[in-house]
Point group: C2
Chain length 432, copies 2
């Protein structure tokens, strides 16, 4: 790129997959990126845009010559175009839609009419279907004669006369049976029909739970309107996971390595603000006991240990709970049992670490009552942490709030306050 | 289950998918579970075992009558059996292997000879292949005549005379081309060949990055030995996610809701022990400044705010870094740039929250120098948190240690120590 040697660049980039070129663009600085795009515009592949990170996508689209952009998007499948344009600003969206052929544009516009993150946005409209009373021979003849089969398809969807899907036949089974066998005898045992408005997260769950390869999508009247394939579901699963892990750490889930410094700082400031408030709350609790601390500075030295251990245990329970809710292993049926278990785990570790810290504090400061106080405070905080780490995500989930997003600050706030309060309160009561 | 009505139970369970029955078993208490298994053993589906959580799997296998178990595993595909037995204890493993037919047992034993978590364990040995010089017509006739095609397959793998895979042809393309077209003209652009010893995590990455549906697996000599399909890759991706998220919270990644209380407590105690040590280290730092705290209790009230904000910012940067390493968006090429960005983000938020907390502390305690001290300490801690949150996972990754597993305690330990040290140190120097 530095030497501006276009032919050498083409030669180097030719064997790369669009996803790798996108990664390359993401890892460059802005200047090299612009240069690379200028040099590579001869045959810029639309898939590179699909693979790019959202933040960069707008930047790269703006850099591309309109003619190159039009050429690039025309090669994409309609569901990839939907994915590409749904997060763009109005003018860029229109520029891309205008570049499409009429039929494709209508397909994309129709998909965009479905709610965000719904099955309708995820599906492709090209479906290979057959009447439910056909035989293997009829289906094979039909497929052999069709001239616009999708690039990738895994099932022939059987439909009744009202276009309601009634079963899936895999191509493998179709190939391995005699011509006179009715298709209805070859349908797969597992058959999930997905309503077009279903949330993509639920779609990914169904694919994962039932090991689906593709599933028909139906409209409100139960009529077949499209099909979702496992690669789309896998992409959703990957996004959801990314979102969960970033949310749990309090990083804005739309952040990426390509964000500007201020965008990244803003994406993290929300959670830091919440944390500032809860930390100030904890400071108020400590302030209640300023006389006790003045009388015995060892309390100030030891109190962060109790709070930090509580915060850790609370985060552990919270993570297990949030995950179990996400994977639907935690339900109303077993909630009580899981809660009892978490509290018992907290009690076991509370006793263990309570005794350990009592030994440390006892030898360090030589005040037996101080050791006893920190032991009891540690146990109470560990149990409260388990209770808070379980109950807070559960309640948020009930209230319809994503527990991955909001549990963290509440849990550490509870453990800090309880940790400081029990330790300093007990100390004030027993020691002074 | 409570009434022991076997027929009613069968009726209720018949429409359920094996994965749902496994979830049901996981959510029951031990007594109900034993009862359900006793009642349901008439046609116990082997897939239920595959779907069960590992901890419960051993328990359920021990409960099943040997004849029922043998019947159940005989229906499974060989790669599912591998997945089932690889984590079992020796005697259970042998019981299951003995129940298999000879051919299947050999296949399973051969798969078990590959290293754990390798492509060899993941692949299925049944591959549909064709010589590279065949035409569409020859391939279709071959498929139509074959009587042991796998249940699910997506590609015909083209091989050269030495059995090296040279390309993939999708069934869809096969169906939609004329009989005289050579298969070699229909191969897919994206074609990844996976060595049998490759780590399953890298396999899942390749599937996700290149949107693969299936990929041939080759031995050391490059000969085709099996095929991995996207559903296996999706399962690995899901497991890896689960592992990452639990590891980052310091929960043993083999934990599950079905663990006993003591197993769960042990799974969390490791991280709590590490945290205890780092908290004691932080306490030592505070103890260095006990005179300052005695002279001004406000220091003890405010110091947890600085440490907690640092811990939060450090965790944010660490999560972004760990994720970027996992998704391979962070490489040696852009490491310096990302580090500069993270430090800048830390500086921006350091200034913001430094000023905020200075205002709070100034109004609360009415000591302007105290406000200035906490402002500077907050800024320094935020920048150090960014640096630590970036550098610690990077160094662990270089050293070959999973950064998701070990970064957390180091990062919070650094932020705690730096937070307490800068705040109390500055205060001692300026105020007293």
């Amino acid at each position: 790129v530095d030497t501006g040697d276009r032919d050498r660049l083409e030669e180097l980039m030719a064997p790369l997959h669009a996803a790798d070129i996108a990664d390359l663009l993401e890892q460059m600085n802005t200047h090299d990126r612009a240069e690379l795009i200028r040099l590579h515009d001869r045959d810029f592949d639309g898939e590179i845009l699909s693979e790019l990170d959202e933040t960069l996508r707008e930047e790269v689209i703006a850099m591309l010559h309109p003619a190159v952009l039009a050429e690039a998007v025309r090669d994409l499948e309609s569901d990839d175009v939907v994915d590409l344009v749904e997060d763009l600003e109005e003018p860029q969206q229109e520029a891309i839609l205008d570049a499409l052929e009429d039929a494709d544009r209508v397909a994309v516009e129709r998909a965009l009419a479905y709610p965000e993150n719904s099955a309708g946005r995820l599906m492709q409209r090209e479906v290979v279907m057959a009447p439910e009373d056909w035989t293997v021979g009829q289906a094979i003849d039909f497929l052999r004669a069709a001239d616009d089969l999708p690039e990738q398809f895994y099932h022939v969807v059987l439909v009744d006369p009202r276009m309601h899907p009634v079963g899936n036949v895999t191509l493998g089974r179709l190939m391995s049976h005699r011509r006179e066998v009715p298709l209805s005898e070859l349908t797969e045992d597992v058959f999930e029909v997905i309503p077009v408005t279903r949330d993509e997260e639920d779609v990914a769950y169904a694919f994962n739970q039932y090991h689906l390869i593709s599933a028909p999508v139906v409209d409100d009247d139960g009529r077949l309107v499209g099909v979702i394939t496992i690669d789309d579901a896998m992409a959703v699963l990957d996004d959801e996971h990314e979102e969960d892990i970033l949310r749990m750490a309090g990083v804005s889930d739309e952040s990426s390595l390509s964000d500007t410094i201020f965008a990244a700082a803003r994406g993290r400031a929300t959670w830091l603000s919440v944390n500032l408030l809860t930390a100030i709350l904890a400071a108020f609790v400590i302030n209640l006991f300023s006389e006790e601390i003045e009388a015995m500075v060892a309390l100030a030295v030891l109190m962060p240990i109790v709070a930090s251990m509580g915060g850790n245990a609370g985060t552990q329970t919270m993570t297990v709970t949030v995950r179990a809710l996400a994977t639907r292993d935690l339900t109303a049926q077993n909630a009580l049992r899981v809660m009892r278990r978490e509290i018992s785990v907290g009690a076991v570790n509370g006793v263990l670490f309570g005794v350990l810290i009592a030994l440390v504090a006892g030898f360090w400061f030589g005040v037996p009552m101080l050791a006893a106080v920190i032991c009891v405070a540690m146990m109470l905080t560990q149990v409260t942490a388990a209770l808070g780490g379980f109950a807070i995500p559960m309640l948020l989930d009930r209230a319809g709030i994503d527990p991955a997003l909001a549990s963290g600050p509440f849990v550490t706030s509870v453990t800090d306050v309880v940790g400081f309060f029990t330790f300093l309160g007990l100390a004030g009561w027993v020691l002074l």
